[in-house]
């Protein structure tokens, strides 16, 4: 108890330091005055009385010191004092302080950036209950590694499986909302009722689907919180409200909460996140759907304590059973199970690793620079330290001072770094592709701040300890005389040279990485993509069943639309297709080549779609043989088909495209004649191989959903025609929503966004690293020259030419840089594995890139070494010899 009270008293004393000092001062003065009076009364002279009084009381400062030791928390007070003194000392050397703080701040900012990324994307659990029990299920076939699931198979799996608690299915099918307000296309998913249970989504109001709702006639839907707020103004009576969907009256059953995130998927799905506006039930009955249609995405929850691979085995066994039961549709089909976590985040692993490595390099380079600066400065203070030591400062005390100073610097750098990092994250989010996984979760949160603070404290301690350790308090005599100091120079040159080489190596490696990414990005952009994306405007229209029941209605509408759009000013040509390149469409169909000379195990299969006349021309896709679709290919004309070059290469390999014209194939039960072969377009920029594709001609097979393509006149901004386009559609049908109005450049940019983002970050880091390394080379060399100035001065006085001195210094700098360069190139080669999946079109050991990086580093280091070299050569030797 007493001890506690004593400690508390001491803490209070620290706070009340100043007033207690004043009191003590006054108290001691009183005591002293009393003693002086005493001696004066005893007959002493005033001066003598004072002397004796001083002896009797003790030295004033010493008494105060011993009181202070007992009164406060002396250690804490000494730390405060060091902080004050240290801050003052640092502020008196603004250039030194600012260089250190800015260097450390920059590298800390970079690490805040990367760590925020890691934290948001990788280090955060998925927003579902027990997320590690969630998996995605796919079906596989010898011809395809991963395929959506057949809904009828799904029904059987659900009924018979035991290793899974639930298997829910979802597939995207957007809804057209009309009625009060603008017609709007809702991003919608058709789901099995257990979808919400699997993901732990409980409606805010209303209820989820029950089995009774899963008939097409039910016309019920659930909406998202966002839609509730934006479209329905958070109507409290939303449950049971009727709305116009797809031209009919539907009932809203409930609202899902904000923060409920979809699991995503590559096919017939929206991305991961709060990307869904509405959910409606899917019907899985054998009458409506065929077993060999695969279009369901499946997300499942494993039963308690069942591992994913065990569940997978069970499903595979079930698939084999189904194969026996339904040999025509299920032969060869099996199952694959993948954890949801891997699915959402996977593939970004290399990207994350690369960024982490890059920022680690940057931090190391920054720290080496700062360490050297601090060390150089502490050497310069040897005199001051020797004096302090002679006056009684203990070694521990001096070390504490140095440590406090280092921590002050790193604290300032931490604040700067957090600020820069926060800015950087904001910028980053704008750069990043919108479909980057968990984009919404990336921000500077508490953990990131904590990490940065810890990092800066560690750096501060490291620097402080390094300084103390290396610096033996020199003897007074040693440091007060500055003569004969050539020793100090060479003692450290070796070790400093290693550090400089290290910096150069890291910077080189980063530069090579950045260079490879840059080259790859450039290649993507100049690769012949098979079409011309600039000056193209696109938009999507989906005709509802109710008002366009017959195929002739659909064909008629799009025909009129094509005419209207073609007449708009600024339009060069118009076309349409059921899907556009680079949008991820991937619906395939089997077909049979009539009189096929090749024996095949299974039918050839290719991506299918329907195109309007004018589509290929508008996109600038090349005609390889035959003819483009024409208006004469209508319902009365013979059925015709256009295929792409890849299809010919893949399935009719020994024939040229021209020979293929006239070939008949069987597709969807019809006999069709190939009349045209067009150039290939890859799925995604950066893909190396295009997929086989065949195209119906729109007059003969129509799809309700079409993407219209308009080529605008060169020089015109495609999006400037958006309003005219919407008006044209509205004239033909005012209730028809128009969605996804964008220029193809935007689609292209979105696809390349992830690469561009990575490139930007790594380039930034690389440039920063090179700059810091150059500063490091310059600094170390300049300092070494400074230490050796007497030596060099003597040389010059004895007849060495200025150029010789210059060459000497330059040579030293370049020697270190060369060692670092070679090491860096080696390091880059070793780490190039990290880049393999991120680079397109070039080998990771691409010689020109390495050579370019080497040249740049060499050039920078030459300049960085040149400056101190030239300065050394122009100093007057007499001056250096004179100073002591």
């Amino acid at each position: 108890m007493i001890r506690l009270r004593a400690i508390w008293w001491r803490v209070v004393a620290v706070v009340r330091y100043r007033s207690l000092e004043t009191e003590l001062d006054e108290e001691l003065r009183f005591h002293f005055d009393q003693l002086v009076d005493e001696y004066a009364r005893a007959g002493h002279e005033p001066a003598e009385a004072r002397r004796r009084a001083r002896l009797r009381l003790g030295g004033e400062e010493q008494v105060k010191e011993s009181v202070r030791d007992d009164r406060g928390l002396p250690w804490l007070e000494s730390v405060f004092r060091d902080v004050r003194l240290g801050a003052r000392r640092l502020l008196r050397q603004p250039s030194f302080t600012s260089v250190v703080v800015v260097t450390l701040g920059l590298v800390l900012g970079a690490s805040v950036l990367v760590f925020s990324l890691l934290r948001g994307v990788v280090l955060r659990p998925l927003p579902y209950p027990e997320p590690d029990r969630l998996v995605r299920v796919f079906e596989t076939h010898p011809t395809v590694a991963e395929f959506p699931v057949s809904p009828l198979n799904l029904v059987d799996y659900r009924n018979e499986v035991t290793g899974f608690e639930m298997l829910a299915g979802y597939t995207r099918q957007d809804l057209e909302l009309s009625g009060d307000g603008e017609p709007q296309t809702l991003a919608a998913l058709r789901v099995t009722p257990d979808y919400f249970e699997v993901l732990g989504g409980t409606p805010v109001i209303g209820r989820v689907f029950e089995d009774a709702d899963t008939v097409d006639a039910a016309k019920v839907l659930l909406i998202s919180d966002r839609l509730w707020r934006t479209r329905f103004a958070t109507d409290p009576d939303i449950v049971g409200r009727q709305v116009q969907v797809n031209g009919a009256a539907w009932t809203i059953l409930g609202v899902l909460p904000a923060g409920f995130q979809h699991v995503g998927g590559n096919y017939r799905s929206t991305g991961h996140g709060e990307t869904v506006d509405a959910w409606w039930p899917v019907e899985l009955s054998a009458e409506k759907v065929r077993r060999n249609w695969h279009y369901m995405n499946v997300v499942g929850r494993l039963a308690d304590r069942i591992e994913a691979h065990v569940g997978e085995q069970e499903l595979i066994a079930l698939a084999a059973e189904l194969e026996a039961r339904y040999p025509e549709t299920n032969s060869g089909w099996r199952v694959r199970v993948e954890s949801l976590h891997d699915r959402i985040i996977g593939g970004r692993g290399e990207l994350m690793a690369l960024l982490t490595a890059a920022v680690a390099f940057l931090v190391m380079i920054g720290c080496v620079n700062v360490a050297h600066l601090l060390f150089a400065r502490s050497l310069a203070r040897r005199r001051e330290l020797a004096l302090a030591s002679a006056l009684g400062a203990g070694r521990g005390r001096l070390q504490q001072q140095m440590l406090v100073e280092s921590l002050l610097l790193s604290a300032a750098a931490c604040v700067l770094g957090l600020f820069l990092g926060w800015l950087g994250v904001g910028l980053l989010l704008r750069l990043m592709p919108s479909d980057f996984p968990r984009l919404h979760a990336i921000h500077v949160d508490g953990l990131v701040v904590l990490f940065t603070v810890a990092l800066s404290v560690a750096a501060g301690l490291l620097f402080g300890v390094a300084q103390c350790w290396r610096l033996q308090p020199p003897t007074l005599a040693e440091s007060l005389s500055e003569g004969g100091r050539t020793i100090g120079g060479s003692l450290w040159t070796g070790r400093r040279g290693v550090l400089v080489a290290l910096e150069v190596a890291l910077a080189t490696a980063l530069l090579v990485g950045g260079g490879l990414l840059l080259r790859s990005f450039q290649l993507i952009q100049v690769t012949d993509w098979g079409f011309e994306p600039s000056s193209v405007l696109t938009f999507e229209v989906n005709l509802p069943q109710q008002r366009y029941a017959e195929e002739s209605d659909v064909v008629g509408f799009y025909g009129r639309l094509g005419e209207t759009l073609g007449a708009l000013p600024g339009i060069e040509s118009v076309g349409g297709a059921s899907y556009l390149p680079w949008t991820g469409w991937d619906e395939n169909s089997g077909f049979d080549i009539i009189d096929d000379p090749i024996e095949r195990e299974s039918s050839p299969s290719a991506r299918f779609g329907a195109v309007h006349p004018g589509y290929f021309e508008s996109l600038g896709i090349e005609l390889v043989a035959g003819r483009f679709p024409a208006l004469t290919d209508d319902a009365d004309a013979p059925l015709v088909l256009t295929v792409n070059q890849r299809l010919v290469e893949e399935f009719m390999p020994h024939r040229s495209p021209r020979e293929v014209i006239g070939q008949r194939v069987s597709l969807w039960g019809d006999e069709v004649e190939i009349v045209g072969v067009v150039g290939d377009v890859v799925d995604q920029p950066g893909d190396l191989v295009p997929r086989s594709a065949l195209f119906w001609h729109f007059g003969q097979k129509s799809f309700r959903r079409q993407s219209m393509v308009l080529r605008v006149e060169p020089g015109l901004n495609p999006t400037s025609l958006s309003v005219a386009v919407r008006r044209a559609v509205a004239e033909l049908d005012p209730q028809l929503p128009v969605s996804a109005v964008q220029s193809f450049d935007d689609i292209a940019a979105a696809n390349l966004a992830e690469r561009r983002f990575l490139l930007s970050l790594v380039s930034l880091f690389a440039l920063l690293a090179v700059f810091l390394a150059a500063v490091g080379v310059y600094g170390v060399l300049a300092y070494s020259v400074h230490l050796r100035r007497r030596d060099l001065g003597i040389r010059m006085a004895l007849g060495a030419a200025a150029s010789q001195v210059c060459r000497l210094v330059l040579g030293q700098g370049l020697a270190w840089a060369l060692v670092g360069l070679v090491a860096g190139l080696g390091l880059a080669a070793v780490l190039s594995g990290l880049l393999k999946s991120l680079i397109f079109g070039i080998a990771v050991l691409n010689l020109p890139t390495y050579a370019a990086a080497a040249l740049l580093i060499l050039g920078v280091c030459t300049v960085a070494s040149g400056v101190p070299a030239i300065r050394a050569s122009v100093t007057d030797p007499l001056e250096t010899l004179r100073e002591d």
Binding site: I2, E26, H31, Q34, L35, L55, R56, S66, D70, R71
Partner: protein, 121 residues
């Protein structure tokens, strides 16, 4: 300086009793009521026959310690000759402490006396 040797012995003498200085201060305050630092120092010198005449400064850390532990209190007042001074007084807890320490001390010293009074062979 006159009496250098004396100064040395006296200084050592003061430090040896450093530990019990706290006790002596408490006793002084208990017996004579509130006093300022100078007064306490003078009193200790008188009682100890001038052994404790130097380094009166060592009193002040002791006063600080005693205040910390709550055994003495302090208040600013005016001295006899109208100067401002800090007056210390013993607290209730201090009195308890004093009693206990006195008992301990007496016990210890009686044992030591007994041991030391044994005849030397």
């Amino acid at each position: 300086m006159e009496g250098d040797g004396e100064i040395m012995t006296r200084k050592t003498g003061m430090e040896m009793i450093q530990g019990t200085l706290d006790l002596l201060v408490l006793q002084t305050l208990a017996a004579l009521g509130p006093m300022h630092g100078y007064g306490i120092a003078r009193r200790l010198e008188q009682v100890s026959d001038e052994v404790l005449s130097l380094n009166q400064g060592t009193l002040y850390p002791a006063l600080t310690r005693l205040s910390q532990r709550g055994w003495i209190d302090s208040v600013w007042g005016t001295s006899d000759n109208n100067r401002r001074a800090k007056f210390y007084s013993i607290t209730g807890a201090g009195k308890t402490r004093l009693e206990r320490e006195r008992e301990d001390w007496q016990r210890v010293s009686s044992v030591v006396n007994r041991v030391l009074s044994e005849p030397v062979s």
